[in-house]
Every structure is written in structure tokens, then in C-alpha cells.
């Protein structure tokens, strides 16, 4: 994926795209908070430059940011992402139960996040071999 982009530019490009979509969302929303889109563009530019500079460094983080990680660095990245997903699932569960207990009407975004992480886990199991026949 994204192999048509030079490795050092892949993560900055994805970050730039996400930041611009986020900024566009604020612009499309309009209203008195439209200026947040400008702040989002500035923050995105800073993040893209930081990511690019990080990607040139001779560190594990630099290798991951520069899309040139070897097997150990890839494993470190995968474990970090797995930890992030675990934390997201636990946080969304806590949010869901707190919202239900507090009779709040904002419980469903937590349920969506929990369902998506659960589905992602099951999809990963089926994609990466747990369903292989004996």
C-alpha cells in the first residue's frame, strides 16, 4: 500500500491527508467556529514536517516514521498499536458503562468504538490465520 510514494513521505502524506480532511470538516460545518479549520491546517503542517524530520533520524521511532522499519522495529510498532487498541477498548468500555449508569444519552459512540475494535480483532484473527484448516 502507498508504494508509489517514497518511503520517507508515506506517513507524512497520510498525516497530511487526515489533517486536511479534518480541516475541511470544520470548514464545511461553517458557523462561528470555521476558524478551527485554519488552526487544523497549521497543526497539520507542523505535524507533517515533524514526522518527516523524525523519519530521517537513526532511531526506532525514526525508522517507523520513515517507513523503513526492519523486523524488530515492525514488531515494536505492532505491539504499540496493539496496546493502543487495548487501551481504546478499555476506555470505551469505561465510557459506555459510565454513560449508561449516568443515564446520559451519549453512550452510543462508546458502543460504536467498542464494536469496531471488537470487529477489528475478529477480522484480524480471520485474516492472519486462525481460521486455517488443520
Amino acid at each position: 500500500m502507498l508504494t508509489f510514494i517514497r518511503p520517507g513521505l508515506r506517513k507524512p502524506a497520510v498525516s497530511a491527508l487526515a489533517g486536511l480532511v479534518f480541516a475541511a470538516a470544520w470548514l464545511v460545518r461553517g458557523g462561528p467556529l470555521w476558524w478551527i479549520s485554519i488552526m487544523a491546517v497549521i497543526a497539520t503542517a507542523v505535524r507533517v514536517i515533524s514526522l518527516y524530520r523524525l523519519g530521517t533520524q537513526d532511531t526506532d521511532e525514526g525508522a517507523l516514521a520513515g517507513s523503513r522499519a526492519d523486523e524488530r522495529q515492525t514488531l515494536v510498532g505492532l505491539r504499540s498499536r496493539a496496546l493502543a487498541c487495548n487501551i481504546a477498548a478499555v476506555a470505551s468500555f469505561i465510557g459506555l458503562t459510565a454513560a449508561i449508569a449516568g443515564r446520559a444519552n451519549w453512550w452510543w459512540p462508546f458502543l460504536v468504538i467498542l464494536a469496531v475494535t471488537g470487529f477489528g480483532y475478529l477480522f484480524g484473527l480471520s485474516s492472519y490465520g486462525s481460521g486455517e484448516p488443520d
Partner: protein, 69 residues
Amino acid sequence: MRNRVREQRTQQGLSQAELASALGVSRQTVISIESGRYLPSLPLAFAIARFFGMTVDKMFDPDQEADSC
């Protein structure tokens, strides 16, 4: 698991960066392998052993604790 990567590398007068470049991995990974913090995959273990002209079982000894540094 103890390994002889550092011993072999210093014997051949190679830096960690030179070995990393020859194996196609990062310098940090060579450091982690030498200190026993990271066990390489089978293909990388074979590549290391082949690079030093040894067999994998001579290069990696599962019966001994890794050197700590």
C-alpha cells in the same frame, strides 16, 4: 538465549552499523540482538550465521542466558 554475534563481529573488526548494513537491518536491531533483548526471526538468524560462516546452532545457544549489558 546467548549468542556469539558480538564476539564474531568484533573478531572481524566490524562496527554494529556495518554489520547492520550487511544484514539489511537497523543498527538498533544489531544492538538488541547482541544484548539478547531481541531474538531474531529464523530467516535473520540464518542470515547472521551465514554471514559469519557458522551454523545457527553454533551462533545461538538456547541453553545459556543472554549477556546483559
